[in-house]
């Protein structure tokens, strides 16, 4: 296992530095354990223009996920994927970019807040996104994560009012996850108009980077989103390619295409 490193504020510092240097942030998502070579795929994605990587710890009942990530989660669970196993895998590699795990709260509750937080930190994980923990419920987890030096990334939705955006941004660490459209993860034909509104509302309230996710599927859409936000999170479109057998090469190719799309339009 890699020597624990100080990760406090590391995610925000890293992303801010990239942003302030003029870059737009690309954060691809991969479901841990979905294929035999998922870790290789994650490394290939990280090396193809990603600024950070979001790694999903699969849950049996992913309420915020559409069919593609549901299928990847199911496959991962059928392959025997566990949070401990994934974190041991992550601890053993250096992906070269900060890793943020995404999971549902029950896995945290089951393991225990402090245990999960310290295990994430020991595994070199920089942050955590727990979408079923809104501001009112996040306290116990956020306290444990803060203590362990793991950034709790909070989410803002199109339906979040301005005052609440401020409180969420204040509680968020690393960056703020802007939910680009009302709905669950999944590929979409176009970017919803709500994406720009969410990005604007967050920017009005915080200097933390704001990255937009949910429904961003193509290099063109990523470019469009990055005109109004600091960065973009792409999940289903990448995971579908892995489900379809695209492998690390296909994943790297798509990530590079996203990067080019963002940078050149």
């Amino acid at each position: 296992m890699r020597v624990p490193q100080p990760v406090s504020g590391m995610l925000a510092d890293h992303l801010r530095r990239r942003r302030d240097g003029g870059a737009k942030l690309l954060i691809p998502y991969v479901t841990a354990g979905m294929t035999d070579d998922w870790l290789v795929a994650a490394g290939a994605v990280a090396a193809s223009g990603a600024d950070a990587l979001e790694v999903g710890l699969p849950f049996s009942d992913p309420m915020m996920d559409g069919p593609v990530i549901q299928a990847a989660s199911l496959r991962a669970l059928q392959r025997g994927t566990t949070p401990q196993g994934v974190l041991a895998d992550l601890a053993a590699v250096d992906l070269g970019v900060p890793v943020v795990v995404m999971t549902y709260y029950n896995l945290v509750v089951r393991m225990g807040h402090r245990r999960m937080a310290s295990l994430l930190a020991e595994s070199g994980v920089a942050g955590a996104i727990v979408p079923d923990l809104p501001l009112e419920e996040v306290g116990p987890w956020a306290a444990a994560a803060d203590e362990a030096g793991v950034a709790t990334v909070m989410l803002v939705a199109p339906t979040t009012d301005a005052a609440r955006v401020g409180r969420i941004a204040e509680r968020s660490r690393g960056f703020v996850y802007g939910i680009g459209r009302m709905g669950v993860t999944g590929e979409q034909a176009c970017v919803a108009s709500s994406a720009a509104r969410v990005a604007g509302a967050v920017r009005d309230r915080t200097d933390l980077p704001v990255c937009i996710g949910i429904g961003v599927s193509t290099p063109e859409q990523a470019h469009e989103v990055c005109r109004v936000a600091d960065g973009v999170i792409v999940g289903s479109a990448l995971v579908r390619r892995l489900l379809d057998g695209g492998g690390p090469d296909g994943a790297a190719e798509f990530t590079a295409a996203l990067r080019r799309g963002i940078d050149t339009g």
Partner: protein, 407 residues
């Protein structure tokens, strides 16, 4: 024998307040996208529930349209056989054949106040789906019902009923293809349509305010039953009050009438294969913290029961709390006992119970004269009628030859 811990009048089943907590259970564990909708719903329900005119309209509708109050029937033959006095609260006689109508009429009224014209719902046995489709027809609303593919098969007749009532039934093929998966899918749909759609949740589960709101909308069952029992029992309350528990709405509505006002023992009966309180551990699913069937990593386990309506790996958070403080206790009945109870109530009383309700009967049959002392007065909420289950039971009895099930 009668637990009075935490039984201070007016305090056991009260208002959980803005955090929606019942002790350590409950809460609102939803994606940020749903927070505003839950807030709006809580506000709308709180406002409505404080208005006498809302109660008046609600009760008048449940009377003229729903057939309330439902009677309490004394089971004379079965009582004689068991050596107890067995009373049934007859929710099977409510319109659509179960207690579910109380909840959906109330929620449809609240949806209208919020200006929402479309209802979505999950259903297991199909009873809540049928009730929601019924309310949607009554109020002229659009209705979509999510139902696990295993359940559409087990409850094919209820699928057709919903369609007759003008609802669209969407089969859910994810997970174990039962109630849990239907809830997941309904919640996903709600996230995408929340602006004009109300999620009409069918039990005392989910994020705040649902567990509290659904219990309040169902408390008419317990309030009526308490008054009716006092007439039958010369002013006394039953020694035991028993109800089956899936998510726990008929039990919560029943218990609400007794928890604070009486010292009756409260017993919730879960399906053995879905016994969240007996076998589960605390966790968070579907927006609530409660007892859940899950593995060591926190993956939710599939419930497995003969009755689609109890095939749920969780339980309403207030039940977890009532168990924790000792005001109610939770027990189980297995599929064989349930099949037996289904037939025995049919033959002795001429009442064919829903398989869900048969769990409550089964526990009484198994414990009368033992844990339930002879001479006890026992009220069982018969949450629904068994018409929907008749063909399934025929198949089960046909294939259970040699197990003693075939009479």
């Amino acid at each position: 024998m009668i637990s009075d811990r935490g039984a201070a009048p007016g305090h056991v089943m009260g208002d959980p307040g803005p955090t929606g907590r019942f002790g350590e259970f409950g809460g609102r564990f939803v994606p940020e996208s749903l927070v505003a909708a839950c807030d709006q719903l809580e506000h709308a329900f709180r406002e409505a529930w404080a208005e006498p005119s809302f109660h008046h309209t609600f009760e008048a509708l449940l009377a003229s349209y729903g057939g309330r109050p439902t009677p309490v029937t004394e089971c004379t033959r079965l009582s004689g056989e068991l050596g107890i006095r067995l009373l049934l609260k007859r929710e099977d006689l409510a319109h659509t054949g179960s207690h579910k109508l109380n909840n959906v009429v109330g929620q449809a009224m609240v949806a209208q106040r919020m200006g929402k014209r479309r209802l979505i719902a999950e259903t297991g046995a199909g009873q809540h789906g049928v009730a929601t489709a019924t309310a949607a027809a009554l109020f002229g609303m659009e209705c979509v019902v999510y139902m696990g593919a295993l359940d559409t098969e087990r409850q094919a007749l209820n699928v057709f009923r919903m369609e007759l009532l003008g609802a669209e039934v969407r089969e859910v093929h994810s997970g174990g293809r039962t109630l849990k998966d239907a809830v997941n899918e309904a919640m996903r749909e709600w996230v995408a349509t929340v602006e004009h759609t109300h999620y009409c949740l069918g039990s005392v589960m989910g994020p705040h305010p649902y567990p509290w709101m659904v219990r309040e909308l169902q408390r008419i069952v317990g309030d009526e039953a308490r008054a009716q029992c006092r007439i039958i029992l010369d002013g006394a309350d039953p020694d035991l009050v028993v109800a089956c528990v899936g998510g726990g709405s008929n039990a919560a509505g029943t218990f609400a009438g007794f928890a604070d006002a009486t010292t009756s023992q409260l017993v919730g009966v879960e399906a053995e294969g879905g016994a969240a309180l007996t076998m589960g551990v605390p966790g968070v699913l579907h927006g609530m913290r409660s007892a859940l069937l899950q593995d060591e990593a926190g993956q939710i386990r599939e419930a497995e029961s003969i009755s689609a309506g109890l095939d749920y790996p969780g339980i309403g958070p207030e039940h977890a709390h009532l168990a924790a403080i000792g005001r109610a206790r939770y027990v189980t009945a297995d599929d064989a006992e349930v099949l037996d109870a289904f037939q025995r109530l049919s033959r002795t009383e001429g009442i064919i119970p829903a398989l869900e309700s048969a769990h409550a009967i089964a526990w009484v049959l198994a414990h009368a004269g033992k844990e339930i002392p002879s001479g006890s007065t026992v009220l069982v909420t018969l949450s629904g009628r068994g018409d929907k289950d008749v063909s399934q039971v025929r198949d089960l009895l046909g294939s259970a030859a040699g197990t003693g099930q075939r009479v």
